[in-house]
Amino acid sequence: MTRETWINVAALAVLLGVPLWALMADEPFIITLATRAAIFALAGVGLNLALGTGGLVSLGHAAFFGIGGYAMGILASHAQSYAPIMEAPFLIEGTKSMPVIWLVAMVTSALAALAIGALSLRTSGVYFIMITLAFGQMIYYFAISWPAYGGEDGLSIYVRNEFPGLNTLVPMQFFGLCFAILCLALLLMNAIHKSAFGLALSAARQNETRVLSVGLKPYHLRLVAFVISGAVTGLAGALFADLNRFVSPTMLSWQMSGEIIIFIIIGGVGRLFGPVIGAMIFILLEHTLGGLSEFWHVYLGALLLGIVLFAKGGVIGALAGREKAHD
């Protein structure tokens, strides 16, 4: 096993070990923190395909995170009020079933990513950053001004949604669910990274002309990556809303987009486990420093500055060195 693999295994062990310890020590809040870290990691794993492998710096991924959140909020609120979402031309009712909610969250955020990506990917560099930000803000303000689902106040759900065979109200069981999904997403990303698609996507990041001159279209590669990326981040959004039993426009804000990027930068851009380690460190800082001062972001800023200046590969890059080209 390479050094990076060891680091990855250690990260997963910590993420799983901490809540297991908390379960024994009867510290349910710690389990909730670990769940939060797993969900943020999942959001980052989604973005990392576009940002790390594809080189697409999207400052609008909160849109997909929030759309996933609202997919959960809207479906669950209709289920709890017994009012169907629509009756004509066909009946759509709300649901409390997590698998259905996840599917809807992924499909809607994938469709949003398809629309946003199809337009944004005609640009590149700074323009791409700005146009994804603009789309994100459009959706943010739309959510604020749409009174049907709480507007600025957001939408509360009384009881967490259901998963067959589990009691999701038990913190450890819900954590287990989120952790399992994160592992599946990591497996998926690992497969994509080694696939023909991953090779071509990564080559398009390094040298667009090269990809064109072997007869492949960078635009198509990037659009597919952006859609997969949006869907995974959307799934994370649905879980996050379920964790809090609350969804509000904050999930759609550009600060949220920035935080997802921060997870990736801290852990290591383009590294499979970059967002996992980044999200864990973020939650750790938020919990420890956040208790000392509400201005804990100052320390986060200092950490980011340090990483950007002295450890461009993030924590994983600093510990494991340059990424080994796989064979």
């Binding site: 698609f197 090779l199 071509a200 090269r210 064109l212 007869g215």
Partner: protein, 251 residues
Amino acid sequence: MTDVVLSTERLFKSFGALKATNDVSLDLRKGEIHALIGPNGAGKSTLIQQITGHLASDSGTVRLMDEDLTGVGSAERARRGLGRTFQISSLAMEHTVLQNAVLGALGQRGNVMSFFKPVMKDAQLVSAAKAALAQVGLAEFAATRTADLSHGQRRQLEVAVALTLKPKAFLMDEPMAGLGLEGAQQMIGLLTELRKEAPILLIEHDMDAVFALADRISVLVYGEVIATGTPEEIKVNPEIRRAYLGDEVPA
């Protein structure tokens, strides 16, 4: 004319008042190396870009095996059989040498939307890539990171990637650029072999290489082809000597 692989017919391209390509009709025949020479700014690179589809022509047509390529994008032209190498090496620098070659083989296959199968374990792609690397003499560097290659080796890799596309015609933009004497000799040897696979339209500043390799030479000045002929004909053409080679060049 059945042996014509690639041809341009009355190609034009202007940038404002500047006529970068002015009524260029060329052909590239089976088994030959057709060199395109001309002073700096003569429009050689513009012409190559028009042929590969990176630049749209104002008028005129490009044909590959009697297929009109007008309106066909650059990626599609590559897939139909235009193998190109660049004046400045254009490779995925973080990838290994083998990965770059596999990317070419992948382009040749056309279907890249495969998400679950490890591409470097695809025997068909890898063997095609390795064959191309062996042909240019890079077999032992397969696992090397491309950024760690020497300049000359990157030029060879460019050729290998073009080879994996199984092209019908090669377009090579200064493959000798920046190579030392030894590297240039090696490249000349390689191109001599390569013309059997597919004819080469060669842009080159190294006159020794051009006269050693080319079966035919076209001279481009101010976007116009002022002469096409065998190296011997070009050498003795007084107009060309005045315009380009310089009068002091001995015949």
